[in-house]
Amino acid sequence: MQCIKLEYDVDGENFASAGHASESVKRTLKQMGVSPASVRRVAIAMYEGEINMVIHAHGGKAEAEIYPDRIDIYLKDSGPGIADIDLAMKAGYSTATENIRSLGFGAGMGLPNMKQYSDEMKIDSTVGVGTTVFLRVNF
């Protein structure tokens, strides 16, 4: 099936620019007439994913495939990887540094929020190699 493909570089050095990809995806979804509730779910899930890449993996790539009834998002990084995915999924668990926490991030809600706001989520991670998070949100 035909889809709209969008690709973004997520800059790992810059908190302020995190959200650029989700912002652009949001615009496209709104221009398609996707319901506000769905736009909101996509925005929150994707924004959390971008922030994660900035905090933990020095950035990476965000790719989106938009279909008439859903969006598939791939967040790919070459960061440290996640050793224990089940633990990482626990609300409140975080490996973020004190510095990051002092900025108001690293509350351990990133992955749980991504799960909550998406319909499907898969994490593929190898320690020392990187992580790919797949998110699907149905409209």
Binding site: Q31, M32, V39, R40, I66
Partner: protein, 410 residues
């Protein structure tokens, strides 16, 4: 219904520079044949193009002062920001006496209605039934912006009419109770901005409801100064207190609610930035968000005379001298139903590329194809504010890409 316009172009003065097009927060301006054209479907009437035009080519539209004379019983509704326009003003009653000297039979301060709106909002907030953070709808340009581009925040809009409309509703009610015939009552809001001119025209004047016309603050100002200079001992006519007067500046509305966790922000870029954060779910926890499109709040509206920050300082000093406490619903025998929207405003679909989703997707795919060709420098030479906008225009309106950079390459 005819298309309402709040800003029109003086073609002779427009030199086709791209200043207004760049500053427009909703990408509603294009340069066509060397002149700035407003796409009214996407215009939120914020007045940013009026503010930024170097040549004075953008003209805000408002009602003529002559309209006032056609009514038997004339009521003026001055907004709080009007009181910040005069140097050395130490008593708001000079302004009220001045309006009466101008021919109005009665003055109903919008600040007073603002105090009532505050009281109503407080009660609604306490009930906790509104989704948080509640977004103020007092600035009509902000409300239009949400309805155009931030549909996901629409259910957080405060469902209460803005003070100008409440003032008109109350003033008409009181005039009718005095026995004045309905067709003789003329109610005129004196507006600091084109957004309020537009929204009140759309809701009110065109439906012949509470407001008969909307005047410009700067137009009234020059007539008023002359009258005010002749007043020596003004009567104590003003009923609006410090709280209502505060509504003229950013933060006035939210401060008056007595909440701990609130945000207020003003200016086009700041408002856009905060709405984006909210739509990413980042303001969860705040109870109330007050947004004003104009810098500094209503004092920054383009129909004002004075610099917004000078006006704000004056209003603060005026407010500090006022000992009048805010009024309550009980004082006026009102309940919340007097303030609530009859119905929620409809979100606009003007931002969509097509109302059919499949057609919209096809167009968006074409936009992405064009974006691969375009240089992405957003120079504006094609007459659109960004390369993306140009691609969207070509996809929706037909024609071919018209880019100076592309031609250079060829």
């Amino acid at each position: 219904m005819p298309t309402l316009k709040t800003v029109v172009l003086d073609s002779e003065k427009c030199i086709g520079c791209i200043t207004c097009m760049r500053r427009c927060p909703t990408e509603a301006i294009r340069i066509e044949n060397g002149k700035a054209k407003i796409i009214y479907d996407k215009c939120i009437n914020c007045g940013e193009c009026v503010r930024s035009c170097k040549g004075g080519a953008k003209r805000p539209v408002y009602d003529s002062f002559d309209l006032v004379a056609s009514y038997g019983y004339k009521i003026a509704l001055p907004s709080p920001s009007l009181f910040g326009q005069f140097s050395n003003l130490n008593d708001p009653n000079y302004v009220i006496e001045g309006l009466l000297a101008l021919g109005f039979d009665e003055v109903f301060e919008v600040g007073l209605a603002a105090e009532l709106v505050t009281d109503c909002t407080k009660r609604l907030m306490q009930r906790q039934s509104l989704p948080r953070p509640v977004i103020s709808t007092a600035c009509p340009a902000v409300a239009e912006l949400i309805l155009l581009k931030f549909h996901e925040l629409a259910d957080q809009m405060l469902n209460v009419y803005a003070p100008a409309k409440i003032a008109a509703k109350l003033a008409r009610k009181q005039a009718l109770e005095k026995g004045i015939p309905a067709d003789e009552i003329g109610i005129f809001f004196i507006s600091p901005c084109p957004a309020k001119v537009y929204s009140l025209h759309k809701e009110e004047v065109s439906n012949e409801k509470y407001i008969s016309g909307v005047l410009s603050q700067s137009d009234v100002y020059f007539r008023l100064v002359d009258k005010m200079n002749k007043i020596t001992n003004p009567r104590k006519l003003g009923k609006c207190g410090y709280s209502g007067l505060g509504w003229g500046s950013s933060g006035g509305e939210s401060n008056s609610l007595g909440l701990g966790n609130y945000i207020h922000c003003s200016g086009v870029r700041n408002v856009l930035g905060l709405l984006k954060e909210m739509s990413d779910g980042k303001l969860d926890g705040a109870d109330f968000v007050e947004l004003n499109m104009c810098p500094g709040g209503c004092v920054g509206g383009v129909l004002n005379v004075e610099n917004p920050f000078i006006a704000r300082n004056r209003m603060r000093q005026l407010a500090e001298n006022m000992k009048i406490p805010p009024v309550t619903l009980e004082d006026y025998g009102l309940d919340e139903s007097f303030f609530l929207w009859d119905k929620a405003p409809e979100p606009s679909t003007s931002f969509q590329l097509d109302t059919d989703r499949f057609a919209a997707m096809q167009k968006l795919m074409q936009v992405e194809e064009y974006l691969k060709k375009l240089p992405g420098i957003d120079c504006g030479a094609c007459g659109a504010p960004t390369c993306r906008c140009h691609a969207e225009d070509v996809v929706t309106g037909g024609g071919t890409l018209n880019c100076v950079k592309l031609r250079e390459v060829e």
